[in-house]
């Protein structure tokens, strides 16, 4: 809480300093930066800039990433063992917009994502390393938002689904925003709920290897990897997923935000989330090895968790060519984890349409009450995990991005409005290292 107060005091001082700074400068733009804004027929009565339009495609965004990592603390093997992972992610968002003469601007955003990953540790769900290493995930989404341009308010609803072999998730959200009378501030609120199902795929050695039941001539053989049904006519039906039970995990989030333009060069945003989770919060194939025992057990975590992250962003336009983007977050949760995140990114505008953005992110966290390394927990512990995501560590993430947004389109292609390419390298003090390269294309 002390850190929250310090953040607010800093914010207040920042505003005060800018009042004095603004008295002598920035009242007139000296070297106006180039704007990509295209004038349209506007509402001049209320100065909203609103122009009613028929249904049209406003923008299409494509984002692709390739991620790879290595480490030596996989939770699948009890906090030891390879953490090699590769992941290819591809997502597309299509935004449709239409307006009416009553200052209502509607947007419908449809998204679809597809990931494919390989994980060396996943193979060790079976002790022999024979489990499959790869997996796919799809995640469609839909959002409808209506904005009252005259009143500066918006309301929307969203739906989300994510499906992969061992995890299914359905999400819903409601969101609302309201600008202040002078249009320099905006309050936003969002309620989200995720209803997930965790398929209970346990380490192969921890479930009965084979059970056989017979009903009316049909024999069902249940193994560690699914079921095999032998029908009365002798036909064999394999099903590697159906009938493996699942357990619920629910997540409820209330998000509040307030953004404020402080001066023609500075704007800030304050964010807070209240998160409640309940249900099965571990993963069934994460092993834990107790002291003096070579036999694994499945990690055990409480069935509820409450999180409180508080964040502050401040972006400042320095001179004509440099932007300073900053971020800080303080986080605390009911499992005993406290964390700080600080980010700095400095886009340098080489030309008005081309920028280079080096960035750095620092992160630290304390350990959860329930974490211990391989062979440290004892059977007397009520909860136990050797997942290093809950250990004490610091991490550093740094890299560089470029952004191209020429007025005649990227590479002269008018519809390709902007291109972003970004590379980052991530290191944890747990010895986990990873890299990610991402490409974003925006079409209008």
């Amino acid at each position: 809480m002390k850190k929250v107060y310090l953040s607010v005091i800093g914010f207040a001082l920042m505003c005060r300093l800018n009042v004095h700074a603004q008295a002598s400068q920035d009242t007139l733009p000296r070297n106006p930066s180039v704007s990509l804004y295209t004038p349209v027929e506007k509402d001049t009565t209320h100065n909203t800039g609103y122009s009613p339009r028929a249904l049209h495609i406003d923008e299409i965004n494509l984002v692709s990433s390739y991620y790879w990592q290595n480490g030596d603390h996989s939770p699948v093997t009890g906090g030891i063992g390879t953490e090699k992972v590769t992941d290819i992610s591809n997502g597309i968002d299509l935004k449709l917009v239409w307006g009416d003469p009553n200052y209502k601007k509607n947007s419908l955003t449809m998204g679809f994502g597809y990931d494919h990953h390989t994980s060396a540790s996943q193979a060790y769900i079976n002790l022999s390393g024979a489990s499959r290493k790869g997996g796919d995930r799809i995640y469609p989404s839909l959002d409808w938002t209506t904005e009252n341009v005259k009143k500066g308010s918006s309301f929307g609803i969203g739906a989300y689904y994510s499906g992969e072999y061992n995890y299914k998730s359905t999400g819903l959200d409601l969101h609302f925003s309201q600008k202040t009378a002078d249009k320099n501030g905006e309050f936003s609120a969002k309620l989200q709920a995720y209803f997930d199902q965790v398929t209970l795929i346990y380490p192969a050695e921890l479930i009965p290897n084979t059970t056989t039941t017979s009903t009316g001539g049909t024999t069902v053989i249940t193994t560690a990897s699914g079921t095999q049904t032998v029908l009365s006519n002798g036909q064999v039906v394999e099903n590697h997923h159906k009938n493996i039970p699942s357990s619920a995990r629910n997540t409820y989030t209330a998000s509040l935000g307030y953004s404020q333009i402080i001066s023609p060069r500075l704007q800030v945003m304050f964010m807070v989330d209240g998160v409640a989770q309940n249900g099965y919060l571990g993963l069934p194939f994460h092993r834990v090895y107790f002291a003096d025992s070579s036999k694994a057990v499945v990690e055990k975590l409480p069935s509820s968790r409450y999180k409180l992250p508080v964040g502050l962003r401040a972006n400042y336009f320095l001179g004509d060519n440099v932007i300073i983007r900053t971020y800080y977050r303080y986080y605390i949760d009911s499992w005993g984890i406290k964390s700080n995140t600080a980010g700095l990114e400095i886009p340098l505008k080489v030309t008005p349409f081309f920028s280079i953005s080096p960035f750095y992110r620092y992160y630290d966290q304390s350990a959860a009450k329930y974490f211990a390394a391989y062979g440290v927990h004892t059977p007397a512990d009520e909860y136990y995990t050797s997942n290093y995501a809950y250990s004490q560590f610091q991490s550093h993430f740094m890299g560089v991005g470029i952004r191209l947004a020429p007025p005649k389109g990227v590479f002269g292609w008018q519809n390709l409005h902007d291109l972003e390419l970004r590379y980052g390298h991530y290191t944890q003090t747990t010895d986990l290292v990873s890299s990610v390269v991402s490409l974003s294309l925006g079409f209008k």
């Binding site: 607010v8 005091i9 914010f11 505003c15 005060r16 800018n18 009042v19 733009p29 930066s33 704007s35 965004n61 984002v63 990433s65 991620y67 990592q69 997502g91 995640y139 992969e164 995890y167 320099n184 989200q192 995720y194 629910n250 997540t251 989030t253 998000s255 404020q260 333009i261 023609p264 060069r265 800030v268 964010m271 998160v275 993963l283 999180k307 992250p309 508080v310 964040g311 336009f317 932007i323 949760d333 984890i337 995140t341 505008k349 953005s357 992160y363 809950y390 991490s395 993430f397 991005g401 947004a405 902007d418 972003e420 970004r422 980052g424 944890q428 990873s434 990610v436 991402s438 974003s440």
Partner: protein, 65 residues
């Protein structure tokens, strides 16, 4: 106390007119995450215990925390 300080701070911000917002409206001044950061937020939520207050996920939707 916090609310009082925030109210004091916000009340001292200057009124910025629309024609003064050419820098504020620059695409790189946006207060949200960049589009290209989307998958970075995902891997951070898998590898770290903290999440939220960044317009990203706060848990749910994947086998992460």
């Amino acid at each position: 106390m916090g609310c009082l300080l925030a109210a004091t701070g916000l009340s001292s911000c200057v009124h910025v007119k629309e024609y003064q917002k050419n820098r504020i409206n620059d695409a790189e001044m946006v207060l949200n995450n960049r589009k290209v950061e989307k998958n970075e937020l995902n891997f951070e939520s898998y590898r770290e215990a903290a999440s939220g207050a960044n317009a990203g996920k706060t848990g749910g939707g994947c086998g992460c925390n």
